[in-house]
């Protein structure tokens, strides 16, 4: 009897040892998205990053995600559930997940947390963001070269710093080529409504714009450009399939390399909470191939992309605010804090910022 008991005990011990060994081998990395992964935009790109992690790290990791998680109290539960299910590293990919993540991170000190586009950190919570404005400067230059009317139509969602920063960067780029360049700005008050975005594009084209830029997530506006024989830029993903003749380029979010490096760090045990704002030079912001433009414009766009990649910031003075008051002196570079809280237009923007 005693023998049997010992035999049983050893087997159980061996089994549990085997289980821990396996658990140590496989790290569970998890993501929380605010939109559906089928939006072919923001959340889609984050999920592409997750798939890259799976591909790069193979059977060392196991991934999971929750989509369509609304920002607010509901997010608490999402993060807590993932932490309880054994996720060792959790990425929250939307601004509104900030407070829920801080709260849940405190409860699970052994789990590593990462939050995109926010500003609160903790001992086990790092933050990351991407400098999309760098790409928008290049778009501005291309638009100024390509537009015959000298007017772009700009479809925007909500007046948050991220969006305002984008408009400003775009205009600075355009004005560096054509000082009289104008942008007609239309707020659709939605991140994602293909119908509304298409309507806005039609209205802008009808009023004389011949290039469309967007800070909303669907391909609808580009499709209108394609139908009308005009041009435009994609957003978040490469949308060339939807507008083979109209897309000039597209700002593509590539989170893959960052996610791979962070999950790797978690595997090696070298993970520490960070605070990074990645740009073109880190490969997090990419520009889709420059198409449907003459070679000299393409060369210019490539040169500007390289310049930014080498460390030049589009927000380098002299830059004046919309009302003409000076903002940045000659050669002065805007600091990140000002950019992340940007709530004013630069000179030449023809719109009143909704407050």
């Amino acid at each position: 009897m005693k023998k049997l008991l010992i035999a049983l005990m050893t087997t159980t011990a061996a089994l549990s040892l085997a289980a821990t060994a396996e658990a140590q081998e496989k790290l569970k990395a998890c993501w929380v998205y605010t939109g559906p992964i089928g939006d072919f935009g923001y959340s889609y790109q984050h999920d592409q990053g997750r798939l890259q992690v799976e591909k790069a790290l193979g059977d060392k990791v196991e991934t999971a995600y929750l989509e369509n998680v609304s920002e607010g109290p509901d997010a608490d539960r999402a993060f807590e559930r993932l932490a309880r299910e054994g996720c060792k590293i959790i990425f929250g990919t939307s601004f509104g997940f900030m407070d829920p993540e801080v709260k849940v991170a405190k409860k699970f000190p052994k789990v590593m947390f990462e939050h995109a586009t926010g500003y609160k950190t903790a001992d086990n919570l790092g933050i990351y963001n991407a400098r999309f404005y760098e790409g928008r400067y290049v778009l501005g230059q291309i638009a100024a070269k390509e537009s015959k009317a000298g007017v772009a139509g700009y479809i925007v969602s909500f007046p948050i710093p991220e969006v305002v920063m984008g408009i400003n960067s775009f205009m600075l780029g355009a004005q560096s080529i054509n000082p009289d360049f104008k942008a007609k700005i239309v707020w659709v008050n939605s991140w994602f409504d293909p119908g509304k975005e298409a309507d806005a594009a039609k209205a802008l084209f009808d009023q004389g714009a011949d290039i469309i830029v967007q800070h909303t997530d669907s391909t609808a506006a580009l499709q209108v450009a394609e139908e009308r024989g005009l041009q435009g830029f994609g957003q978040s993903s490469d949308m060339i399939k939807f507008a083979p003749k109209a897309q000039l380029t597209s700002i593509v979010d590539d989170w893959g390399p960052y996610y791979i490096s962070r999950v790797k760090a978690a595997l090696d045990g070298t993970w520490k909470p960070g605070n990074v704002w990645l740009g073109i030079k880190d490969g997090a912001v990419k520009l889709a191939p420059f198409t449907n433009m003459p070679d000299d414009v393409k060369a210019m766009a490539e040169a500007t992309t390289k310049k930014i990649s080498d460390g030049w910031n589009p927000f380098t003075g002299p830059i004046a605010k919309q009302d003409g008051t000076p903002w940045l002196k000659n050669g002065e570079v805007a600091d990140d804090a000002t950019l992340l809280g940007m709530n004013f237009y630069v000179k030449g923007v023809d719109d009143k910022l909704p407050q």
């Binding site: 239309v186 008050n189 293909p194 119908g195 669907s218 391909t219 909704p354």
Partner: protein
Amino acid sequence: MDITVNILLTIATAATPLLIAAIGELVVERSGVLNLGVEGMMIMGAVGGFGAGYLTGSPWIGLLAAIALGALFSLLFAVMTLSLATNQVATGLSLTLLGLGLSGMMGTSFVGQPGQRLPNLDIPGLTSIPVVGRLLFGQDPIFYISIALTAAVMWFLFRTRTGLTLRSIGDSHTSAHALGIQVIRYRYLAVIFGGACAGLAGGHLSLVYTPQWVENMTAGRGWIALALVVFASWRPWRVLAGAYIFGAVWIGQLHAQAFGIPVPSQLLSSLPYLATVVVLVLISRNKRLTMMNTPASLGQPFVPDR
């Protein structure tokens, strides 16, 4: 002149899906059934229309698939609420939730793929007439269907015996039942008609408005259609007016913004909703007439007991 024509065309495109979905729901509600699943049936139509068009290469097959899928999906609602007498509000809401989720799952492989677009009407000689040519003879096929559908529903409800029967069921299903009318059968047909319309409206989104598939692409249009029916006090021509007022104010405010009129965009964006409510309240301010139009047994389950 060209810009006016363009604006009118844009308004028609924006109003068409609302009009079709609302007309379908109007018939359903006139029969005394409240189906809150319009959004769900619409998104099923959108994914079905896109999928069939994409897989077969024919937007026309896509159109048929959109109608079929919307109708099929509404059948689920009909079985639940009519045969099993479940609560209509709860069933309708769950139909919307189910539709949004199911369509996302069905459409996974369609994301990021350009779809088929239904061609605009092009009649040699007529479409090229300046100004009116494109407005009358150059729009997408679903636009013409929507107008014909509105006229047909008006005629059916108020000029035919079957229409009268349908309305009487909506007003009092017990009396209708006592008269020997097959309440459940009529309601089944009405619900399926409503589903087919919602599916068609969804097909308009993914085959004409924005030929693509993305999750949640209806973006609340089903709910606007539902609201239009109530504000239109269950009169087809008012649904038409409401849908076009909504479209006109929405497109108008986009143009106002692009033109640089310094009004807060948040206010402008809410204008279509405000304007539609105000106008429809004004035209239905005759209380007695509104009461007369409201289906009295709307939303009540019917269980024949004799």
